[in-house]
Amino acid sequence: MIGKLRSVRLALAAAAFIGLGLPQAHAAKDSLVVDLVNEPSSLDPQVQWNPDSYYVYRNIFDNLVTRDDKGAIVPQVATSWRQISDTEIEFDLRGDIVFHDGSKLTADDVVFSVKRITDRAFASPQLGQFDKIVDAAALSPTKVKLVTAGPYPALLAQLVKLSIVPKAVVEAVGKDAFNLKPIGSGPYKFEAWQRGVQVTLTRNDAYWGTKGPFPSVVFRAVPDGATRLANLQAGSSDLIVTIDADQAAQLKNAPRAKALIGLTERVAYLRLNTTKPPFDNPKARLAAAHAIDKAGLIEGILGGHDKPVPELLTPAIFGWVDGIQAPAYDLAKAKALLAEIGPAAKAEIDLATAPVFDQRIVQAVQQMMTDAGFNVKIAMSDMASYLRRAQAGPEATSLLSFGRWSCACQDADGVLFPLLHKSSGWSAYRNPKVDTLLEEARATLDANKRLAAYKQVHEIVATDVPVVPLYQAVVIYGAAKNLEFTPTPNESMFINRMSWKD
């Protein structure tokens, strides 16, 4: 009898052991499981620039300002701000924010965060987003003044990305230790990091703003898209990132999962090298614009979610102007234009791309341009080589390159300036008029003047075609049926804006 009992107990124990990793039934939602592609590279908000880190650390830290789900810049640590002069801006700060270690967030922490990220010796990859700030000063415990080198209209848009770190803690423990155990003031606290596996956050019950709906959140690294999808369908995760339209379609009839699709600030484009044949000839550039069937790409390959754009921006970006007329898809016209050029149009064109981009799009572009009479060869390289060549200037860069651009700032200055202005490595276009317009738009705080300048740039791009703007890209998440989450244009993932409906 005892023997029998013991064996039953053993069997139970074995079952419990084997069942350790099995999906649990969601009664009350204690823990949200999010499948990212990779683990965060680091949780210090100022030492890296990659989405998987951002998804996690943005829930641990508060930023100076933030964007709401619609994309408007709204208060977070700062409650209000005013421009004192063209180069000075004052921020009033909340007085009731407490870091996870119990210390108060003050103006000193804000100043410290600004100075830390703009210190060249600190070597933050994000330096370029903040290096227009030349000084920061605490005027009182709840008041901070920032000084920029010249008027800088995109400052607030950039400050959306400035996370506030606790000065005392960072100074006490140092950079490396802070990275391992970050302390912020956000709606979730850092709990544990099982390297290569997952990061666990717990709810900050003392948070000053909207509290998180789940007591704990687990971010796991699941590199394979098909596995993320299987995890979601098996119920072992509640939210997955980076799936494509085909995978989203698989979720249509899934019993417990759904696809969440949102238009982003990201714009897909073809950049033409205007300094070399055939694209040194405006007719060839116009022919390229007429050769691309944007609606065809979106409907045929991307599942119809993305939106064609006539200008090198998306409606989610400041600087977007309605009513720009871009050359329409017209194969006959493209062929006719190329015929006018003659043999020069047959110059071999290398189309640069990298594995991260959807190769079906790249191949379709190649096919469309070939149909029009261009001679296009795809040049695939790894991402690092692609980036280096893409920024090498007109002499060294490819004749044609496909890209998807996001400045993560939703401001035209972060898109048009780097892609078109002669001072930027990305630009393969030389047009003094456009350079002047871009400089003017960067140097004034007057929104209407900026919009007027950008409108002219859009019109020149549409007629002179240094780039062919393609479409506004979507971001697609897979989510449990019960999870309410609104994708935003800047691809943020605020846990405290989510909810769970049983």
């Binding site: 052991f17 084997i18 069942g19 350790l20 990793g21 099995l22 999906p23 499948d35 990779n38 590279s41 680091s42 030492v47 890296q48 620039w49 060249r120 070597a123 990859p125 994000q126 330096l127 370029g128 987003q129 290096d131 490396d176 990275n179 391992l180 099982q194 390297r195 290569g196 596996v197 997952q198 796991r220 690294a221 699941v222 590199p223 394979d224 098909a226 596995t227 299987a230 995890n231 369908q233 098996a234 072992s236 790894d382 991402m383 690092a384 080589s385 980036l387 280096r388 920024q391 651009w405 996001s406 400045c407 993560a408 700032c409 972060g414 780097p418 001072s423 930027s424 490595g425 990305w426």
Partner: protein, 308 residues
């Protein structure tokens, strides 16, 4: 024996230094990671500043000497992307790699060797033909396909096993099977070939003619002799498994060394790649040495002094 060991250790040192030097320079042939680290809006000045701060603007040879100096202090450096010591990263991944390698080895040997015996001793039976087919199909299925198929069947459809990631013993089952099935075929083939080879030798024929039964034949006479090629293959397979199984680890989100290495290569996180390659070289050289020593244990006729 001591002379042999010393000589082999010297060779091992040269091999490892060669491997490390090669990986150091090959990785840097196409540039450095700075472009991957910065936002798209970074200017050339920003990129150059970061490159200088990370030390990638120094002459390659200076960087190499630096690296060797660090190596002598047993310091593998810091990951450029994660900004933690490479040893921390490798140490955190190593247990998972060991677990998966052990699991896969159990599957590979546990199924592969018996099938090999079956194929050698009972060639003509229906069971052997079925087993041969099984081996062939196991070897032909690409793991990225068999892996995701297993997940769909056993996790999504049946709900028996967790689809991916770590946690308990149940998490280890599917990755071990997916990875083990590949080496299983190798073990089966080698076992079969070695047994057939031994069976055709005089001593085996003599034993048979004396009427020795199959079981006694196998365990008393053949096993020891046939195990020499198996040891060689096992050493190679184990070092392969320890170097990480990139595809299986990726499909099952298993945080082993293979996964982190591929990510590091793509991110140009040189230090991690160098660390893993160094470790791999160590393991391979050590296991080869071990298998050489095991030869002489299994077959006393092999004398290590003369084995050059």
């Amino acid at each position: 024996m001591p002379g042999f060991l010393l000589r082999r250790l010297g060779q091992a040192g040269v091999t490892i230094l060669g491997v490390v030097t090669l990986i150091f320079f090959v990785q840097r042939l196409t540039g450095d990671p700075t472009y991957l680290l910065v936002p798209e809006t970074a200017t050339q000045a920003d990129i150059d500043a970061l490159r200088t701060a990370l030390g990638f603007d120094r002459p390659l040879f200076v960087q190499y000497l630096d690296f060797l100096a660090e190596l002598l202090r047993f310091d593998l450096g810091q990951s450029v992307v994660q900004r933690v010591p490479v040893t921390t990263i490798i140490a955190s991944r190593m247990p998972y790699t060991l677990m998966l390698a052990a699991g896969a080895l159990v599957v590979a040997c546990g199924i592969g060797i018996p099938i090999g015996v079956l194929l050698a001793l009972y060639r003509e039976t229906l069971l052997a033909k079925f087993a041969a087919g099984l081996v062939l199909s196991a070897q032909s299925m690409p793991t990225f396909w068999s892996g995701i198929l297993m997940i769909l069947v056993f996790s999504v459809l049946l709900g028996w096993l967790p689809p991916s990631s770590t946690g308990g013993f149940s998490n280890l089952i599917m990755p071990s099977v997916a990875l083990g099935l590949l080496s299983m075929a190798t073990f089966a083939r080698i076992t079969r070939a070695a047994l057939l080879d031994e069976l055709s030798k005089d001593y085996a024929r003599t034993a048979r003619s004396r009427g020795v039964g199959t079981g006694r034949m196998l365990f008393r006479h053949l096993a020891r002799n046939a195990s020499i090629p198996l040891i060689t293959v096992a050493a190679l397979e184990i070092s392969n498994l320890l170097a990480g199984a990139v595809i299986v680890e990726t499909v099952f989100a298993w945080p082993g060394l293979g996964q982190v290495t591929v990510q590091a290569i793509l991110a140009r996180d040189f230090m991690i790649v160098q660390g893993v390659v160094l470790l791999g070289a160590f393991v391979t050289v050590f296991l080869n040495l071990l298998s050489d020593i095991l030869y002489s244990v299994v077959d006393p006729r092999i004398v290590l002094e003369k084995a050059r």
